[in-house]
Subunit: 432 residues, 2 copies
């Protein structure tokens, strides 16, 4: 008996999924027990490069989500509200759901998993985070023995592509973004990627699985890469760092049990760090756990084939479980979170900072800056003046670990000093 | 109801497993449904740093493997024959087995998985390869949608530690091995590690899962790192390579369907390659599949905590499945191979080579070497003479892709030339 799959959407990822299921030789034997029964699309008559019978196409996606003959609904239409509605319909009609939709899961995960639990169905989300990299599986199953300490990653390929090119070419953000858009590596509206929102969606999902609590998206501090300049990248390079947009989720050092530190922002990463050598559109996630230590998973974070690989892996898991036992949920595949995490505010977080200041080239400036940081309990690692030009100098400051609010208060006062022209960049830093 | 676990062995890994199961808070909730019921050890009275009741210890390991009350037998005694016997006893008594024993699985996998299939029990082996890295899971489940093209990895921490130190310090093999032994990174008898036998065990297991056929250990070509000298490492470094001991398994280029190319030997890896930056005792596996592309998993390949993490992950998987359904096997967790892979002989394999020759410093030598390679259809990428000393010169040759047997025939003839003093090193090479 074949399990009947209803496919919502036949775009890049949907076509990838269909191609895998139509060309089974050499893949997992369970693919032989799956059948694409219906496909929901906007334009059924559009020519497509997958060989599916015309009569299984429909524009009525709701009819698929509620079709009693369908076992598994695979949601690949993207967007939030309509996708959410379809997923809930499918669940309420007792169907298992596989989705690649990070936006829906990050926003409506609580409602979706509560409904799934009630109905006793699986909602599988491997493809929603980092494409083909099996990071959801790792957090749900393979690392089950561990207490997770931190999850840190390059989870957005577009920004990593832009930053990689900025590093290699010494170019600035805007022209490289424009080129990335031409080449199809960035969307026409790049906001979700370059402002870190896409990464925040993914971190909400990863942190929720890693730490066992639900995360509200609005609790995630989020800062993109628009402010990064070639000057900062050159400074970073000189000091042995590369600038990466990282998602970070970790228990706070001071109050491990009570608050989660979760954010997305650029970070100066020491070149010796595992994430420093992840280039271009590649994604990578570093997970630290007790007792395992450090695990790094890297691979293609997007694209038709990689994302389809994760979607089909989820379908295989559901089919394997249903086949063995159609009535009881396997607890390594479900989601049992009930509470929202208490999230630490970014002001309370502990960080190292790199800050670049443009100052009047006059005596006493470095002293004034150093004193001001000191008065706010911010110890400095280094303070270096360079690039004197037209009576102005660039100063690069690196702090030791300090509370973010203290650093910000110091910086506000420094900004008001007469000798300070501007403070173009602040980037948090990972200790070498 | 708790699932009853019988632990065979309470050494480094066994203690790690016990510690996790005795300290559940913050780990997977299913740990609450497991109970260590019996522990088999050699010396029950030895003081131990895990808090288990004295009355569950026994020296009679067979009694545990056959105990009707035990659900899951966890084999962590190491070695081959006795462990194999205990595993088979457990299977024949209807118990599920979790093992970290690569040697047993690489040698007796066929018998073990056949018996397990017959009895309808799971034999889980995540901990047998690369410690905490979930590479078995990736090949069995997460990459199920893919046709695997190649599996390539640094799967032995001891040799990677030695090679890393040789690279960093410019030292030679023997003294660094001696230090590694002192520090506990290498065994008193280092043969299994430095001659590549341990890596071959692991590659047999990985290749079997990746390509769906059983592998005979004796079919794996195996070459260790004893021949590597500081001179070769310096040459490699100059040319932009690092020397790593790699396990490689891939379909042959010429006859994809019929033969598997599987071997363990040192490789000159371009510094830009994902495996080049894996240092020290860390393990890493690079899997290439269609459609996913390239996935790299890296982490601790050995050690109490990391290996115990994998053992407990396997126990969690078995418990989750048994709990949902005690009678039908989940097909993503079993092993269904029936046939042995046809393995290509190393003589037929296609490689690039680096070879270092010591020659008399006289005119015509480079020409003679080049001609000899050419007569055997081996095209050269580069041939460079350096380090002239006492009338002798070192010559580094890099070939293009060629058949191994042609290369070896050429090298044999070259070795007989009057101007050739010796051919100290031959290392295969990955194209940059």
């Amino acid at each position: 008996m074949a399990f009947k799959i209803g496919l919502l959407g036949l775009g890049t990822v949907g076509s990838g999924v269909a191609k895998i299921l139509l060309d089974r030789q050499g893949r997992h034997p369970l693919l032989g027990e799956m059948e694409i029964t219906r496909v929901g699309v906007r334009s059924p008559d559009k020519p497509r490069d997958v060989d599916l019978p015309q009569n299984i196409f429909t524009t009525d996606l709701e009819a698929i989500a509620t079709d009693p003959a369908i076992d598994i609904v695979v949601e690949l239409i993207g967007g939030t509200d309509r996708a959410y509605k379809l997923i809930m319909q499918a669940i309420n009609h007792g169907k298992h759901v596989v989705t690649a939709n990070k936006a829906v899961i990050a926003r409506y995960g609580a409602e979706i998993f509560t409904a799934a639990k009630e109905k006793g169905v699986y909602v599988m989300i491997e493809a929603a985070v980092c494409g083909g990299i099996p990071v959801i599986q790792a957090l749900k199953q393979a690392l089950g023995a561990n207490r997770i300490k931190s999850v840190m990653g390059i989870v957005n390929g577009t920004t990593n592509y832009i930053l990689t090119r900025m590093h290699r070419e010494g170019g600035d953000f805007e022209p490289i973004l424009a080129e990335a858009q031409k080449l199809g590596y960035a969307e026409a509206d790049p906001t979700a990627d370059v402002d870190g929102l896409d990464a925040a969606d993914k971190m909400a999902i990863l942190a929720s699985l890693a730490f066992g609590d639900r995360i509200k998206l609005e609790d995630i501090y989020c800062e993109g890469i628009r402010q990064i300049t070639s000057t900062d990248i050159a400074f970073a390079d000189e000091m042995g760092y590369v600038i990466k947009l990282l998602g970070i989720a970790q228990h706070t050092e001071t109050a491990r049990e009570t608050a989660l530190d979760i954010r997305v922002h650029p970070v100066m990463v020491p070149t010796s760090h595992a994430l420093a050598s992840i280039h271009g559109v590649t994604n990578a996630v570093r997970i630290e756990g007790e007792p395992i230590g450090e695990l790094v998973l890297s691979g293609p974070g997007a694209g038709s084939g990689a994302t389809a690989s994760a979607v089909v892996a989820d379908i295989i898991n559901v089919v394997a479980t249903l086949r063995a036992n159609p009535s009881n949920i396997n607890l390594t595949m479900g989601c049992t979170h009930q509470h929202y995490a208490k999230v630490q505010s970014i002001a309370d977080s502990i960080n190292l900072f790199y800050v670049r200041l443009v100052v009047l080239n006059q005596p006493g400036v470095i002293g004034a800056i150093g004193t001001c940081f000191g008065q706010h309990k911010v110890s400095l690692e280094s303070i270096v003046q360079k690039h004197i030009h037209d009576g102005m100098a660039s100063i690069a400051v690196i702090t030791q670990k300090c509370q973010e609010s203290n650093f910000r208060n110091a910086l506000k006062e420094i900004g008001e000093l007469n000798a300070i022209d501007s403070i173009p960049t602040v980037i948090r830093l990972l200790a070498a």
